[in-house]
Amino acid sequence: MSLSVAGVNRSCGGVSLKDIRLEIRSGEYFVLLGPTGAGKTMLLETIMGIRRQDSGRIVLDGADITDVPTERRGIGYVPQQSLLFPHMSVRRNVEFGLRIRSTSVAEMRARTDCVLAELGMLGLADRSPASLSGGETQKAALARAMVIEPRIVLLDEPLSAMDPETRQTLRDYLKRKQAEAGTSFLHVTHDQIEAFSMANQIALIRGGTIMQTGSPREIFSSPKNEFVARFIGYENIFEGQPAHGADGLIAVDIGGAVIKAPAGSAMGEGSRCVLGIRADEIAISEAPDRESANSLKGTVEGYAELGAIVKVSVRIETGALILVALMANAFIGAGLDRGKTVWISFSPCSVKILSAGSAPTG
């Protein structure tokens, strides 16, 4: 089932949705990625029909459902806090939608058992929601949404606050369902790792506006603006001025240091541009890399140990601070003490031009 959100606008309190346009194809796992307060939940509730949009249309599998009541949209919904009905057992919760549809007892029993078994919850069917762990509660909420075989499933941060094992079980289940049943999913999250590991398509949203839509690879390799770049992990963002170009590259002056980047189509000499470089695409060494187009001298200013990864802060000669991500073993072997003089290098292909010819986007 495909879902189309066409030019939806909604204003409510501090958050508003602005001209939201999404196309979720049949059987697609679509992730809406954005920070807290971006309007993600509001958009889900608008698609569900709980909130009424000020303008725009919502089309599900070719049928305009803009004015269709929530209960007739055939949309499954898993809220962030699970919200199992506390006065019903897990089984009664999962059966709820089937009872409403007057499904026969035998069929209801079979379908409920099937979905509970798939999620490893059959043994907990007669338990009270109050007696479940967070992960079990979320699985039960997912089972309740899936058992009615919805046309599309909306998931509001379903994996947040979950232990890694349960998160992996649910990820596997969701991907399997997508593959087996061809169910379309719209999954909302603020976690970029979750988004990139699950999605066929990702839309980044901020302040009620879709900032970029594309496949994970497209978004990862070509972030459209500074917000997207920062959100998906580009930690080194610089504003600079293109100076001259040759061999398909352009030299950008970022306050004294020159960085060579692929020439952007809209970029010309004299215009301002914003560049982004991922910390894990920068190499660090004690001597300059003569082969590299971008090799800058600097001093180790500090580092943060993050388990398997260590982020090293290097102050280059012009005063700019550049973050370099190293594997912990490489960091230990390199002996990068504070104050040590080092060289950092990176390929021009690692430099993404986030905006050109205008002020940096927010």
Partner: protein
């Protein structure tokens, strides 16, 4: 003494003042029961008193039913929706608690007397409010409805609206959501409202005495006996009514506890 040494002066002062309040509330009740204990069986043998008590219990039950049928939907609307005039209408619900109850009785009499438009309308259908069971029920419902509405409203507010949204996404209509989710989750609050309404109705005197002196209810019987036969004859009836109130209180507590247990579904892991 060791208790005193281990507690702060604030806690000790609170305990002393609290004890004063308990004595203030319990002393008149205890003295009424124990001062007339020997006469209570005799009061119970009196057919007039027995009928008055039965009338009070019965009419209070009908008044509770009436306020539940009209009050619970209103409470749900207040809890869930905003509409023009809500800010004006909502505080008015508490008015029957604030106005003197004999004034409430007069207000009802003005509306429901057979000479009024509404009263004559019902009169044509054979329904009379003055000096009738119907009048007692209406008077009781009028003064006790706020207890039902507020209890139910608080109960519905405590139900997470997102849970209702989930139920709707599963295919339930608004009525089905109310029936299967909102009402069961608010049931404890609604039951509390019913019990409060019933208890308040049983004790109602002011509004009932104006609108429907007859058939005589328990509070009117007590007042009647006190005025016509004196304190000594009224004391056993007084003791009996207080004993009934104590019994009702105990039953209510038990019911609420049982209902709370009922709301916890099936066995579960701690």
């Amino acid at each position: 003494m060791s208790w005193l040494r281990t507690r702060s002066p604030f806690i000790i002062a609170s305990a002393v003042l609290g004890a004063g309040m308990v004595i203030f509330l319990m002393l008149p009740i205890a003295s009424s029961i124990f001062g007339s204990a020997s006469g209570i069986p005799g009061a119970l043998e009196d057919a007039g008193t027995r009928n008055a008590i039965i009338t009070s219990l019965y009419c209070a039950f009908l008044a509770t039913l009436f306020t539940m049928v009209l009050g619970v939907p209103l409470a749900y609307v207040f809890a869930r929706y905003s509409f023009a005039g809500k800010g004006f209408i909502e505080p008015l619900i508490d008015l029957p608690i604030l106005i003197p109850h004999n004034a409430a009785g007069i207000a009802l009499l003005m509306v429901l007397t057979p000479n009024s438009v509404i009263g004559s309308f019902f009169d044509k259908m054979g329904i009379r409010f003055v000096d009738s069971v119907m009048g007692i029920v209406v008077a009781m419902a009028f003064v006790s409805a706020p207890f039902m509405i507020r209890s139910a409203q608080d109960a519905f507010i405590s139900v997470n609206p997102a849970m209702e949204h989930v139920a709707r996404s599963l295919g339930a209509s608004e009525l089905q959501v109310f029936r299967h989710v909102s009402f069961p989750l608010a049931a404890r609050g609604v039951l509390t409202g019913c019990l409060l309404t019933w208890a308040r109705s049983i004790s109602e005197f002011g509004a009932v005495v104006i609108l429907a002196y007859y058939p005589i209810t328990a509070p009117i019987d007590l007042y009647d006996t006190f005025v016509t036969e004196g304190l000594s004859r009224a004391l056993p009836i007084n003791g009996l009514l207080i004993l009934i109130a104590v019994a009702i209180l105990i039953i209510f507590s038990r019911l609420l506890t049982r209902q709370s247990r009922f709301l916890k579904p099936v066995e579960g892991r701690a």
